[in-house]
Symmetry: C2
Subunit: 216 residues, 2 copies
């Protein structure tokens, strides 16, 4: 009855999926080739038949991660930008341990070319020149990356039992800091993110108008 019950063979697909699971479960630091081997039911070295190095595997994981962002195709470029930003940020919430891979390595792998092209084509279709699109896209991407990293670090800090409260006797000497820092907590993440995002979007419009005027 029972079939030979060999495990299905390794493949880049299967390895990357398992790697992402392991990273999600134990964090980037504890993600080792041996741990991945255990998860896959093989020895660590077997992985090297499919990836040249751990580094290359991590590139593939980053690529997988990036491929999960969704680009909304309806609405103005402003609507789509907002949607893309939210989708990107939500990646960081679903995969907080893996997300830093995106911020730490050069992530534009060919698998994402299609998505980028659609984003840019749609935006240029609304009359923006390539340089303006580059400006807007990079600014947004960098803001979202910075925000995601901050939220991840801060969340982890509190999860580990960290306490960011400034002791009262110190707070008295830095009253402004104490008042402002009260908003640097996970409870205010959404509000802060949206403020920055809407500010940027507002600012883009004004900057683009200004630029158009200069070139006219």
């Amino acid at each position: 009855m029972a079939r030979k019950q060999k495990r299905e063979p390794l493949s880049q697909e299967r390895i990357v999926t398992a790697a992402l699971h392991v990273i999600d479960a134990v964090g980037l630091e504890a993600f080792t080739t041996r741990a991945l081997g255990k998860k896959l039911g093989c020895e660590a070295m077997a992985i090297y038949n499919h990836f040249a190095s751990k580094e290359e595997l991590l590139d593939a994981v980053a690529d997988r991660l990036m491929s999960k962002t969704e680009l909304p195709m309806e609405g103005s470029w402003r609507d789509r930008a907002r949607g893309l930003a939210n989708s990107y940020r939500s990646l960081a919430r679903v995969h907080p341990h893996a997300f830093p891979l995106l911020a730490t390595r050069r992530g534009t792998l060919p698998s994402a070319y299609g998505m980028y092209d659609r984003v840019f084509a749609a935006t240029m279709g609304e009359g923006l020149d390539a340089f303006s699109v580059a400006c807007v896209f990079r600014a947004l991407a960098q803001y979202c990356t910075g925000t995601a990293l901050y939220e991840i670090n801060t969340t982890a800090f509190y999860a580990e039992g960290g306490n960011a409260e400034i002791p009262p006797e110190v707070a008295a000497s830095v009253p402004s800091l104490a008042k402002v820092a009260a908003y640097f907590t996970p409870a205010h993440f959404d509000a802060l993110f949206h403020f920055g995002l809407e500010s940027m979007l507002d600012g883009f419009e004004r900057q683009l108008i200004r630029r158009a005027a200069e070139h006219a």
Copy 2:
């Protein structure tokens, strides 16, 4: 004649300084306690008389780094914000290998309290409430962090001989991406950074006006 010529004793100061030098020279990956020991003229374990762990030492290095940012005290909050953003970004250019420490760990160590307090006090003195200051500061910090990381990664990528050019036959299938990606090179870093920065600053003003109107 020749004095006993003992090396001056270790101290947190001296260790952090040396650590930053080593990181600048060889990168974060290759920064090991043994390498630091060699630079200091002692064994690796001697460091543990002054720091509980490598992690704690890296915190101190991050703190040292952060303490190098300068806050311009003249001008409107907008001028000061621009100055602070530029100073922060220039950190990343001077210490590209060490900078990721700031983005990766919770960086608000007490030594920076004073600077933050001055920044926030000055801004609140211009009529912004604490929540608005928090919004503006975090958005700026996150944008600058994201930008710095991107610039560092991209610069390193090209320095290692990487080539981001999309092969012509592929470019034909993603024409918009090809046009926009031409601006994702070090030559355009300054222009992209300033576009994003000025956009945010413009946007802040509009958002703050809107918020004031709602609360009036």
